[in-house]
Symmetry: C2
């Protein structure tokens, strides 16, 4: 690896001049600058030491990476929107791969010039978030929230919208309303079932526990769910699907089976992107703005970096909202 000394030699200038070029000092002649830059590029110069760039904010997968999902993409877009203004750069890390065996998370982050971390988690990796918070490293957790004094959270509160969504179906005359929930628990999903139950209660109707159906949050899970529902007797006339990808599978299978939406079956979905416009018919859905969540996560992190002594954990819920489109209609059975 070339050092400033070698670059200086090759470019025929002093190491001072090389350093000035590296640091973009204004008083270097164009000629000297281009000689140095040439030597740097041909020798693949990389500073081994020097001012570190310490302006990275990391988007960290504590467990399984879901990089590539539209939701994560929207989160990053939101973060980037806030970061640009303050000159931070976005780095993507897989905690399990990036961390060396004997180092702490703080050490890993410092090694990579990371000043703060947005942690993507599930219930399985809660302990990682807890550890990072315990180490005192500035971080904020997305996608789950749990009761702990020192962890910062941004989560989405879908309780109210889930209650509205269920009430919407009840008021359309539906009585047998199924709810599809992921087989993996997290607090963001628990809210949705809670809203569903509360809507039934406030309409003085009992919840039929058979209508609370767990299904994996994949396309296949949604397909399975439709087949399951159509075979029930009496069968539900409406359903609330609490995961975006499940909705896609369910609607596909419904089309394949010749089930008319909403005439034969009303569907309320969940959308964290633009999915509600992609499917046919356009989807009545509880919506959340992933962009906004990402932006808010950065804001909290930035706030924590500005005020290192503020130890009060942030627990902030962003609301979801119900949008009524074409996949729900009156019960006619």
């Amino acid at each position: 690896m070339a050092s400033v000394r070698e670059i200086a030699k090759e470019a025929g200038v002093s190491i001072t001049t090389v350093s000035r070029v590296i640091n973009n000092h204004p008083r270097v002649s164009e000629k000297a600058k281009s000689k140095v830059l040439n030597a740097m590029n041909t020798n693949r110069y990389v500073a081994k030491v020097g001012r570190k760039s310490t302006t990275n904010i990391a988007f960290v997968y504590t467990g399984e990476s879901s990089l590539g999902s539209p939701y994560d993409a929207a989160l990053m877009q939101g973060m980037a929107a806030g970061m640009d203004e303050f000159g931070f750069d976005l780095m993507i890390l897989d905690a399990r791969r990036a961390k060396l065996p004997h180092e702490t998370y703080t050490q890993m982050f410092m090694r990579k010039g990371v000043r703060g971390a947005v942690l993507r988690t599930t219930t399985n990796t809660r302990h990682v978030c807890q550890t990072i918070a315990d180490e005192g490293f500035p971080s904020v957790v997305l996608g789950d929230h749990f009761d702990t004094p020192n962890v910062n959270f941004i989560y989405s509160d879908s309780f109210a919208s889930s209650q509205e969504a269920t009430s919407h179906l009840l008021e359309l005359g539906h009585k047998r309303i199924a709810i599809g929930i992921n087989v993996i628990d997290d607090s963001d999903h628990a809210d949705r079932v809670h809203g569903y139950r509360t809507a039934f209660e406030s309409h003085n109707l009992p919840v039929d526990e058979r209508n609370i159906i767990r299904t994996p949050a994949y396309r296949e899970g949604g397909m399975q769910l439709i087949r399951r529902i159509m075979s029930m007797s009496p069968r539900p006339t409406a359903m609330y699907l609490t995961d975006p990808i499940t909705v896609v599978g369910a609607m596909q299978e419904a089309h394949k089976m010749g089930i008319k939406i909403p005439d034969d079956l009303s569907i309320v979905g969940f959308d964290d992107g633009e999915l509600r416009y992609y499917v046919y018919p356009q989807l009545t859905a509880v919506c959340q703005n992933a962009n906004e969540i990402g932006l808010e996560a950065f804001r909290v992190l930035h706030e924590k970096l500005q005020n290192p002594n503020d130890k009060i954990a942030v627990k902030k819920a962003l609301p979801t909202w119900l949008e009524i489109h074409d996949s729900t209609g009156p019960c006619n059975q």
Copy 2:
């Protein structure tokens, strides 16, 4: 900003010990280590100088950022898959925002510890890619390709699939086939029109130039396109839409207007993700694997980093393929 000296003082150890903790030296007592880490976190220690992390690969927007799009998300996922193996970290940069007024792109990258760059571009920002390549900085361009000796490219070659797609429609008996193309030119799209023309030629049929329709690659563009087509006389009975988002708009508007797909109108789309499964009916489409493109981009970059003296530019095309689903059928008009 705290330095090793202050951390050492606060933790009651020597700066040597602090340094050892930073670098995860094996022979430090747990007690010393935790005292130092504590002092670091409470003082928000960040190394001002020292071994730089120089293992970053940047995903760079040379022009307008499309971070948040499913395509970009899939590209990054592909890159990350390759990078993990070699311990590189992924950084996202907006070149126009990150670059200081008087520095070169190479200087910007070095400042941020970036060793190589995957450049996302359009025709508008070709000159940026050219400049970066001229500076000798290891980079590879995605999304466009143009004739230049020293720029590395990974692009998607949709000529053959576009020809197949058009032939598929011709062989279903369609004669009046429209093609929708983005108002903004790039080489990846030019291939698609070329394939369309070639299919007509090989069937000894003339191309009606009125059927080559430019429309902005947004949902609204797709809606507009359908209205345009349905008002033509005689109207096209099939079309090939060369942008994913345009397809979504077009299918929505078709549903709204009561146009039956494929009975009234056959549609071949373009899909760089999973869109073909989301819409109804499932979409016959020319498909490309964005994951694969991202992975290949990293591979080329890695190869260039290993062999700095290999100056031969890589121009690699990844093929697309045609998938026939339910949105195309025989012409019955």
